[in-house]
């Protein structure tokens, strides 16, 4: 999001300004509240939560819920904690992000710098594929994963996320490369540079920002996905979101809210970290992902 100027013409009185700040701060508190609640309650013993006082700081600080959520909590049938599922999510997200980004970069390069008949159609079809409700592909996808013998595995999820990630990654790189001077490509071509040489030597070195945006967007989407994870990998290969939901919703016996909160923060940590470290790119990705180009 590029912000042209911080200037505003609208004048406001002192009373108005106090009101503005009040509203903005109240909303900031509203947005922060769930995170605050998750954080403080994940550090309390259970009885402090069940006796009320969700908003108060812990009287006895404890990291027990975190340890339990990470390594001993009951997820589904076995008391493994969330750790194996966290690892599943990483093993799924890293290759899926890498492959879909590379494919997107190459597609964007072809679609903008090597015009051919029907290119607009190809792009239009790819673009629409970003916005289908995934319910429409669930049944055939389950069949295909079964036929390929990778249903219920991380490989299956990698395939799914690459397939449905290509549309967005292509959209990003196409919009970015559309603004890249075609004369440079032509000049290199006349000098005898080939398809991949041009890509490698001319396009890629200037693609840093869009690679960051694309990786962040894909990582966030893939890490946060629940539908595909729940449909295609609900057992030991389940990703973090599915495991968290199992922890929270199917626990028998006492509901360990503090453990659930700790687990929720763990599931949120990677994308939150990305947001804190590279928020600028995250926002740009969101805005670009919202169709605009």
């Amino acid at each position: 999001m590029s912000i042209a100027s911080n200037d505003t013409v609208i004048r406001s009185s002192k009373v108005t300004r106090v009101f503005l700040y009040l509203v903005l701060v109240l909303f900031a508190l509203f947005y922060l509240m769930p995170l605050f609640i998750m954080a403080v309650n994940s550090l309390k013993p259970l009885d402090e939560i069940t006796s009320g006082g969700m908003l108060s700081l812990p009287r006895n600080w404890t990291i027990e819920p975190w340890l339990s959520a990470w390594s001993t909590a009951q997820i589904g049938v076995s008391p493994t904690g969330l750790r194996p599922y966290f690892i599943n999510s990483i093993a799924m997200a890293v290759p899926a992000v890498a492959i879909s980004t590379i494919a997107g970069a190459l597609n964007g390069y072809v679609l903008t710098k090597w015009h051919f008949r029907g290119a607009t159609w190809v792009f239009g079809l790819l673009l629409f594929s970003c916005f289908i409700p995934f319910q429409i592909v669930l049944i055939p996808m389950a069949r295909v994963l079964g036929l390929l013998n990778i249903s219920g595995t991380t490989y299956g999820l990698i395939l799914v996320h690459v397939v449905y990630g290509i549309g967005f990654s292509t959209l990003y790189f196409r919009n970015y490369y559309a603004a890249f001077p075609t004369e440079l490509v032509r000049a290199a071509q006349i000098d005898g540079a080939g398809f991949f040489q041009i890509f490698w030597r001319i396009m890629l070195p200037s693609s840093g920002p869009i690679i960051a945006v694309c990786c962040i967007w894909q990582f966030t989407n893939i890490w946060n996905d629940f539908l595909f994870g729940a449909s295609f990998a609900s057992g030991g290969a389940a990703p973090m979101t599915v495991a968290l939901n199992n922890l929270v919703n199917s626990s028998t016996g006492v509901r360990e809210y503090n453990v659930h909160f700790a687990g929720a923060i763990m599931a949120a940590a990677p994308t939150l970290l990305v947001y804190i470290v590279a928020g600028r790119y995250f926002v740009r990705g969101l805005m670009a992902g919202s169709v605009k180009g």
Partner: protein
């Protein structure tokens, strides 16, 4: 253009021809994957919606039977009504909050750099995390209700999440929390794109703040309104995770949405034909919104 440059394709040796074909060869796998996994799968699901598939796909055509049955099932009615309530409130409230936050932030606010990321971070979280957090905040046993009661307001009640008439509104609360910051970012970008000179001129002519918003600023934000509407309605129709995490469709089936309906009928109730039919309806609803929008966006650019 470049690929068919006569100067380069003149020498018809293998290397040159390969170079000319390379762009298409590189694009081919993605294109094939898309045709098969997106459009092929859509065709397959549409076909299934006309068959008597139950637990496994079958290929005996039964005409529009699944659609007829779909519209007679009570849960589908519930899901559609819920989607109406949820999508309507979610879109309207997120847009209003987003618009006002953007307008306020745009008034030379000190600390904008701190506030903006706070408004926006929920968008980085998964709906499962959001749902988990709000599930417990709204749970009368440990959440808001008991907290306010302990503050001294003993008759305070807020048990919507356990009330089958009100539970759908709790989903709206969580969804608005998740998305309104993003809408704010879109409007803020729109506001920053407005030319200050026009506003200054209007001010010289004696226009009040209200008039400037009504006549100049809001009309110029039309593209942002449109994008917000398209994205939010798209998110609303696809909503699945949030409901699963917060209420799992309950109490009873009172918070079912079409996405949940599709999953339940297809994978747990062994009514694949009806599930496929509901997925087709979801696709058509989204397509009715997305296709004209994407078409306009693409045409504008070319």
């Amino acid at each position: 253009m470049a690929a068919t440059d006569p100067m380069l394709s003149g020498g018809a040796d293998f290397r040159t021809r390969l170079q000319n074909w390379l762009p298409k060869i590189v694009l081919a796998p993605s294109f094939a994957v898309m045709v098969l996994f997106v459009y092929g799968f859509i065709a397959f699901t549409v076909y299934l919606s006309f068959t008597g598939s139950r637990m496994l796909p079958s290929f005996d055509l039964v005409g529009f039977q699944n659609y007829e049955r779909l519209f007679r099932v009570r849960q589908w009615d519930t899901a559609i009504i819920n989607l109406g309530i949820f999508a309507g409130l979610y879109i309207v409230i997120s847009t209003i909050i987003g618009l006002f936050l953007a307008i306020f932030l745009d008034m030379k606010i000190r600390g904008e750099g701190l506030l903006r990321p706070i408004f926006l971070y929920p968008m980085a979280l998964s709906f499962i995390v959001t749902g988990t957090a709000w599930k417990w905040i709204l749970d009368p046993a440990i959440g808001l209700e008991v907290t306010v009661q302990r503050w001294g307001w003993e008759s305070f009640q807020f048990d919507w999440i356990k009330d089958s008439d009100m539970a759908i509104y709790t989903i709206v609360i969580a969804a608005v929390w998740q998305s309104s910051g993003f809408v704010m970012a879109m409007f803020l970008a729109g506001l920053r794109g407005i030319d200050n000179e026009i506003l200054k001129a209007a001010q010289m002519d004696g226009a009040s703040n209200f008039q400037m918003y009504r006549r100049i600023i809001l009309p110029q934000l039309r593209p942002a309104f449109l994008s917000a509407f398209v994205i939010l309605s798209h998110l609303a129709i696809k909503s699945y995770d949030l409901v699963v995490a917060m209420t799992d469709g309950g109490p009873g089936t009172s918070t079912w949405l079409p996405a949940l309906f599709m999953y339940e009928y297809t994978f747990t109730r062994n009514q694949m034909g009806i599930g496929a039919a509901s997925a087709v309806i979801m696709l058509m609803t989204i397509a009715a919104i997305m296709v004209p929008y994407l078409y306009a966006e693409l045409r504008e650019k070319n």
